[in-house]
């Protein structure tokens, strides 16, 4: 069974997966008409920002056991064993956000969805694109990702690749083969920039800060 595997170090932050996910869950399944649908389709995958604003694709891990499933008050969250997918039944969901409190990855959102009764706010998260998979498709986020930060493969294959990578990293020669020098350069630059933002200004820059007016209270504490 294939599953979506996330490789955050290859995420370029282009957010194409978000767009593809929203479109895949729209009525029209096409970008242009999808944006005029009501409710407006929304992504189930969210590209967050890492410490130096690098991309970080965050999607449901379909945990087993799943904390959201255990926390669900009305029993709306279930596991489909054959596809290793944790699903939310929008008809049973009562929008209590107990799953938001339980999900350690913060991947569940609350909004109207075309799968639910009109006007009803429900918990929404990744469904592994089961509808696409049934028609021999792959999850939309994976299809959209050109930098292979999202792959659709068996866990065995993913583990093997990871094991190979660890093995290579033991070899100094292999480790020196940078994955992508331009990408590494950009990220090193962004890291350096971030450190500058958060590093305290040198003490002799106090003068640079200027003189607060003595008769003016800083009211906004």
């Amino acid at each position: 069974m294939k599953q979506v595997v996330v490789h955050p170090e290859r995420c370029v932050g282009c957010m194409q997966c978000q767009v593809a996910c929203a479109v895949a869950h729209s009525e029209a399944k096409q970008l242009v008409p999808a944006q005029f649908e009501s409710p407006r389709p929304r992504p189930r995958i969210h590209v967050g920002a890492g410490p130096y604003n690098e991309g970080f694709p965050n999607r449901c891990r379909h945990c087993d056991p799943a904390p959201c499933l255990l926390a669900c008050l009305p029993g709306a969250i279930t596991r489909v064993a054959e596809t290793a997918t944790v699903m939310i039944n929008v008809d049973t969901c009562i929008n209590c956000a107990s799953c938001a409190m339980a999900c350690p990855f913060g991947v569940i959102r609350y909004h109207e969805d075309r799968s639910a009764q009109a006007g009803k706010t429900v918990a929404v998260k990744c469904d592994n694109c089961l509808a696409r998979q049934r028609e021999d498709g792959i999850p939309a986020c994976v299809e959209a990702c050109l930098s292979a930060a999202l792959t659709f493969e068996t866990l065995d294959a993913a583990y093997k690749r990871q094991t190979d990578a660890v093995a290579r990293s033991v070899s100094a020669v292999a480790a020196a083969e940078a994955l992508a020098p331009g990408w590494a350069l950009l990220n090193a630059h962004k890291k350096a920039r971030l450190e500058l933002l958060t590093s305290p200004a040198p003490s002799d820059e106090k003068r640079a800060a200027g003189n607060a007016r003595e008769d003016t209270h800083v009211r906004h504490d």
Binding site: Y52, N53, A209, G210, N211
Partner: protein
């Protein structure tokens, strides 16, 4: 990712006003920057292409996905085309600004530009001579008309090279000729860049980048230089004069008007209106003590240089200054005016006025200024500003202004030196001054506001390097107190001695961002005096917090003119390591200078000091190791 307000902005007025703005629920540039994270890596690397609609395309940096666009362009070609278009846009912006000034000059000559006049006739005559316009025995207005025509020809393509290239050292001109990058026409080079980067034209990345240098030179030695020189003719060549800076220049008891943008065509007329007895009387009738005109951004720098009009802030202060609640009107012309400003102003009583037919903004009233109606329009909007004073709510001006000295044109510098650059050269030869650096450019929310500027400047002057600054840097450094009479205390011993003797601060305010050309003119004079090329001088340029396409063009004309230039933020080029190598190494053998990218100003200072000492050594001057 910002954790606190202190990560966003260094100056105290910035921090206090940002706190106020956030408490007022104003969405600022920093919040929008955060909301954009992560920013698209393909675009950050320059590896995405939207030029044609077989695309859009992108190249996978990891080599697994596509390596060519639909047309077959690889990463090198895509990055080069994108960078070329970026420089074309920057050159177009400066040069179009220059064109507007030439039109005013033409209007003065034919009497249609009411309210404008020739303020520096000497400069008019000198410049006319450079353009080959007959000057002897002729009336100023007649000369002005011919000069405006000649300059307009520089924009077209009827010549082999731009007139003002003659100001560059001979060796430099010969090098440009040899490389085939002598700019032929200001508009032509930009237009040709757009042509070359169309699908299926120039697909040699090196050739595209060489043309990018030519395009940038058409800005530095063309459009921008015309902008500065014609501004001096029309509004006066700057001379040193005291001024004040930071948000504290706003006055609680006066009508505060802020001018924002770049072109002095509008702001000069606003200043005249503010100074008129009629408007002052009106302000007093409304209960205000008077009218206080202040600037932000480069239109403010233009007024500061020529009239000592105070500066309320640079690029990242433009939203914050509105949160004082003390701005009765902000009048904008063009460039670097965030489209958010109208929305910010709507949280306060501030009236926003746009003035240019080419620059309109949401939530602003449009009062279109043209040379023939500018004086009258200026009175109209200033009257509105005065009336708006009555609608003011609570006012928060949390800082005291810092005094500063501005107005260093090349003429003023040479004047301060006693009419010749010789004393400066002697100080450099003796090693009292190790060299000179132009720190220029913008603010960018990717760098803590002003931290790059102020830190780099401090490190350079304390190591006896003279700093000249323009644009947003000039404001940051003035706020930091580098332009106070006692600022030499922060300079190294040699620089302190020389500046002390001349009575100038160790950091010289050279004007707005088009005024970067003043640096080119000064460097040419120094190179000629030493009998060398600009690339032989112990000098450098830096843009520690640049953000705009204009800054990309400036950086390129600095490097193409032989000035080693250190950028803070990374330009969108890392998609092609070939181009990274060319820009940071290969150009040394082509134009005698390269770019470096270093976001940390402490490290940038070391790079620059090393470069300066190397150049000193090559000139046979005493050199130190850094």
């Amino acid at each position: 990712m910002y954790d606190t307000i202190k990560d966003k902005t260094l100056p105290q007025d910035g921090q206090l006003l940002l706190k106020k703005a956030e408490a007022d629920g104003v969405e600022t540039v920093w919040a929008r920057h955060q909301a954009q994270q992560p920013q698209c890596g393909y675009c950050e690397m320059g590896a995405s292409c939207r030029i044609c609609i077989m695309g859009p395309c992108r190249v996978d940096p990891f080599g697994q996905g596509p390596q060519q666009g639909v047309c077959g362009a690889d990463a090198d070609i895509i990055v080069a085309r994108n960078l070329g278009r970026m420089i074309a846009a920057g050159a177009a912006s400066h040069s179009d600004h220059g064109r507007d000034l030439v039109e005013v000059l033409a209007g003065v000559a034919d009497g249609t530009a009411l309210g404008y006049t020739i303020r520096d006739e000497d400069k008019l005559r000198r410049l006319a001579a450079e353009y080959g316009v007959a000057v002897d025995g002729r009336e100023a207005l007649a000369i002005a008309g011919d000069l405006a025509d000649a300059m307009q020809e520089d924009y077209g393509t009827r010549k082999k090279g731009l007139a003002l290239l003659a100001r560059a050292p001979e060796a430099r001109r010969a090098l440009w000729q040899k490389l085939g990058i002598t700019p032929r026409g200001i508009d032509r080079e930009t237009s040709e860049m757009m042509h070359r980067t169309h699908m299926g034209v120039d697909n040699d990345w090196q050739s595209i980048l060489l043309h990018a240098l030519r395009n940038a030179l058409s800005d530095g030695w063309g459009g921008s230089m015309i902008a500065t020189e014609v501004s001096d003719i029309l509004y006066g060549t700057p001379t040193p004069r005291p001024t004040a800076v930071n948000a504290g220049v706003l006055k609680k008891d006066q009508v505060n008007i802020i001018v924002h943008g770049h072109n002095p065509v509008v702001s000069e007329m606003i200043l005249q209106a503010c100074l008129s007895d009629e408007m002052t009387a009106l302000a007093q009738a409304k209960g205000a003590a008077g009218i206080n005109l202040a600037g932000v951004c480069c239109t403010g720098n233009e007024l500061l240089m020529r009239h000592g009009v105070p500066m309320a802030g640079n690029h990242l202060m433009t939203e914050l200054i509105l949160s004082t609640g003390a701005v009765d009107m902000m009048i904008v012309d063009y460039q670097c005016i965030m489209p958010s400003l109208g929305t910010v102003a709507s949280c306060y009583h501030t009236k926003m006025v746009s003035t240019s037919d080419k620059a309109r903004f949401p939530h602003m009233d449009h009062h279109e200024f043209h040379p023939d109606n500018a004086a009258e329009k200026a009175r109209e909007v200033v009257r509105e500003a005065v009336e708006n004073y009555l609608r003011r709510g609570e006012v928060y001006i949390p800082v005291e202004p810092v005094d500063s000295l501005g107005g260093f044109s090349v003429e003023a510098v040479v004047g301060a030196l006693g009419g010749t650059p010789e004393p400066l050269l002697e100080a450099i030869k003796a090693g009292k001054i190790r060299g000179a650096v132009g720190i220029v450019g913008c603010n960018n929310p990717k760098i803590k506001q002003d931290y790059g500027h102020v830190t780099l400047t401090r490190r350079l002057i304390e190591n006896d390097i003279l700093v000249v600054d323009t644009g947003c840097v000039a404001v940051a450094n003035a706020k930091a107190g580098f332009k106070l009479a006692d600022a030499i205390a922060m300079a190294g011993p040699g620089l302190k001695e020389i500046c002390g003797a001349l009575g100038v601060p160790p950091v010289l305010h050279f004007g707005s961002c088009v005024d970067n050309v003043r640096i080119l003119v000064l460097l040419s004079a120094l190179a000629d005096a030493l009998g060398c090329d600009i690339s032989d001088l112990p000098v450098a340029g830096s843009a520690p917090e640049w953000y705009s396409e204009k800054a990309a063009a400036i950086g390129c004309y600095f490097v193409a003119s032989g000035v080693y230039t250190v950028l803070g933020p990374m330009p969108p080029v890392t998609g092609s390591m070939n181009i990274v190598k060319l820009l940071t190494e290969g150009l040394e053998d082509v134009v005698g200078a390269t770019f470096a990218v270093e976001p940390d100003p402490e490290k940038a200072a070391l790079l620059i000091r090393r470069r300066i000492e190397d150049k000193r050594r090559a000139l046979g001057l005493p050199a130190a190791s850094v």
